[in-house]
Amino acid sequence: MSNTTLPEGIKPHEEEVGTSLYKDAWYRLLKNKFAVLGASILILELILCLITPWVAPYGFETQNLELTLAKPSWVHWFGTDNLGRDLFTRILYGGRISITVGLLASLVSVVVGVIYGAVSGFIGGKTDNILMRLVDILYALPFIFLVIILMVYFGRNILLLFLALGLTQWLTMARIVRGQVISLKHKEFIEAAKSIGVKTRFIILRHLIPNALGPVIVYLTLKVPAVILEEAFLSFLGLGVQAPMASWGTLISSGVEVMEIAPWVLFFPALMLSATLFSLNFLGDGLRDALDPKGAKD
Amino acid sequence: MALLEIKNLQAHFHTRKGIVKAVNDISYSINPGETLGIVGESGSGKSVSQLSYLGLLPSPPLRIPKGEVLYRGENILSMSSEKLRKLRGNRISMIFQEPMTSLNPYLTIGSQLIEPLVIHCGYSKKAAWKEACGALDRVGLPEAEKSMKVYPHEFSGGMRQRVMIAMALTTQPEILIADEPTTALDVTVQAQILDLLKAIQKETQMAILLITHDLGVIAGTADKVVVMYAGSVFEEGPVENIFEKSEHPYTRALLKSTPRIDLHQEKIPVIGGTIADLSQLKSGCPFYERCEYRKDICRLTFPSHREIDSAHRTFCHVESFK
């Protein structure tokens, strides 16, 4: 293969390799019924949450003190909460928060993990050893405590929340990316050595990204539910999202308070959260099997 | 009466893709002090034929629709599983091909060695321990006492196979089934292991059922040979007859395709084609497609046996090979 071609010249080769790999994986993914079901539910939720302001039957804050803790009916599909607010609306808005925090926090974990893992894998040697040992130790710590400490310390700022949550999940990402970088380092380096200095970077970037992307996407899909879960966990305990904003966690917490007399106030947010978590997990498992069928399965 | 007599044994696997007829109507026998070599390609049914009657294969999907396996006149196939279990590792022992994985990596050698004695012969742990040390000595492992406390991963392949042999022999079985015991080992180690087996056999008059695909091993170790293909026996006889006066096209082709240092060979002849699909066996000889002597009748009926002399039988329609 000629290495005197410009980076643009390498592109066709990379595209060809990329397409067939992903096409194969796509086909495998579509065969997995659970993954498809999960993906459908997620897409539906995403659409609903995006168009919430236009679709929600009531205002987020609109109270109706005449109709507190009303059972589900045609007027209020999911019933109302203790202040007469429409539960369906609140669940939709809560979903926006939960999903946004989940996605943003996962993004943070990806960024941190990718940088850490790439640096560690690229430099190699003793630095890599130390950095990875650190990861091993940190793996055992329940990061949620650190998040709680941060929330206590700096106040409950939603920006801080998703930053901190992102930091709880970067470890696995770092490990994966490091593994990819190391294996690629040995492959591409030889090829890169033949090229001129500047183009080495180009080649590594052009080949690194499509190859490393696979596992990163898979774990991202599996990390998002973990983060959503943690946000819900914190919010449930009162340490996460603050009123007047609501997330599924806070809604479940309110639901627990009135579950004796109005179980639906607990049931519907719990259902939404669970459905989301299930869907993400099924999709993530499906993606993992699709992209790497050799991987160990239960 | 032979020590072990296999009569018309059939072993089938019922899978989702159909019935795989791994063993089809085979018969042979073995006597004390004898080494019977069972030779054949992978998939010929040579291992399955032994594993099946010993209860070492999961039973669905395995089924044994027909046949008898007489050990000292008693049919193993009609024994209760409890009775069969008492035979295994006790009167009939087996060693396997992969010494690297056949020992439990989580237990010491000693802990595994004493098991047959404790379970079958009622030895106390202490007595079994002593006996096991002696067994390790006999198979040529140095520092038996120390070795007993060691874990398998600290031993080489050859040493582990010796441990396997020692383990199989502590109960002084009458029959040792050796399933490709040397295939995973170096040639030099191979020779040592085979010599060891022969020496033990001389001492104890143990019968050895040696399963292998290596004709060289057969030539050096076996007294009688059974040639198997696609689940059937093709030829059976004393080792000299099989090697020098074979009366079966398959055996002859096998012998021809063995590399020889004493002949100048430009090209080593191979047997064309591939082995038949055992789930799609038709009537007739399974070697039909690949046989250079085939006749029409070979496609229609499986050959019944033809006696060459008292100990030598072949299963072929072809009568002369000119």
Binding site: F145, I149, F154, L239, V256, D298 | R88, Y106, E115, I119
Partner: protein, 306 residues
């Protein structure tokens, strides 16, 4: 072999621990709205305690070493919010409760998990396999704060079989520990099943069978050690999870454990309490992971930790 491993682990853990401890010190010292900051919005009695304890007029360095000294004597300082109590006192009351909850939950997790997983492995692809494994998916995906209330609703309020709050009788222990243990039972059952399934196909199991061992003997002597390894590895993260999960469980079931105090102090910004409890948790988890590693090495002689 083992000793060098232990030493190496400690060698890395100690600086990390020191780092955490130092961070904690500075966080307490510079907490906004705390006694050390400019706006002293702390009740006078608490302020008095803190001044007495921390000698706030001394230099920062001196305070730091005093703090380290306190820690080495396991003295976590006075509570920010409860003016007449120290952190140690509160922990002393609440920790045993949490430990009991955690212990019972872990027992449930192991009992249910290993039994379900083992049964599934013995009879794969039958109902004994499908049903427990499907239920385990729920345990893995659903959070404790969903499972807990649901169980309370069903068993406490509707069926009225079990009490819904408090920590007095033995019945009180059932729902909370089952709730907390359920998620881990789910993981453990999958790990057990996977571990045993892998083992049963190994050659050395065939050897054991060829030697004439009964199925029971094979299971206990040969399969158990290898099959249980994934579960042992999991115990570290499982413990961390149980500690975290207890925060929710104690809140839902109103149990006077350390987790509930922790949440309270987090909501009330009781810095010393939050930090002190966190340090305790971290130490506990470090310790348990360490022990798990040791157990693993004992069980699997092939592992060579350089």
């Amino acid at each position: 072999m083992g000793l060098t491993y232990i030493l190496k682990r400690l060698f890395i853990m100690i600086p990390v621990f020191l780092l955490v401890v130092t961070l904690v010190f500075f966080m307490i010292r510079f907490a906004p709205g705390g006694p050390f900051s400019a706006e002293k919005r702390v009740p006078p009695q608490v302020l008095k305690n803190l001044e007495a304890k921390y000698h706030m007029d001394e230099s920062l360095m001196k305070q730091y070493f005093r703090y380290l000294g306190d820690l080495s004597r396991f003295d976590l300082g006075p509570s920010f919010k409860h003016s007449n109590r120290t952190v140690n006192e509160i922990i002393g009351e609440a920790l045993p409760v949490s430990m009991e909850l955690g212990f019972i939950s872990l027992c449930w997790a192991l009992l249910i998990g290993i039994t379900a997983g083992g049964l599934a492995a013995l009879k794969p692809n039958t109902l004994y396999d499908y049903i427990p494994m499907s239920i385990s998916i729920m345990g893995i995906c659903l959070p404790t704060f969903v499972i807990g209330p649901v169980l309370v609703l069903v068993f406490g309020l509707w069926l009225q079989w079990l009490p819904v709050a408090g920590w007095n009788s033995w019945q009180d222990r059932l729902l909370p520990s089952l709730t907390l243990g359920f998620a881990y039972a789910a993981y453990i059952s999958r790990l057990t099943r996977g571990g045993f399934m892998e083992i049963r196909h190994q050659d050395f199991i065939r050897t054991a069978r060829a030697k004439g061992l009964s199925e029971g003997q094979i299971l206990i002597k040969h399969a158990l050690r290898g099959g249980i390894l994934p579960v042992v590895s999991y115990l570290g993260p499982a413990l961390a999870g149980i500690i975290t999960g207890a925060l929710v469980t104690e809140t839902i079931f109103n149990i006077p454990g350390l987790g509930r105090f922790f949440i309270e102090s987090a909501l009330n910004r009781d810095y010393t309490m939050v930090m002190g409890t966190s340090l305790l948790y971290f130490s506990l988890i470090f310790l348990c992971n360490f022990l798990v590693d040791i157990v693993y090495v004992i069980l699997d002689p092939r592992v060579k930790y350089e």
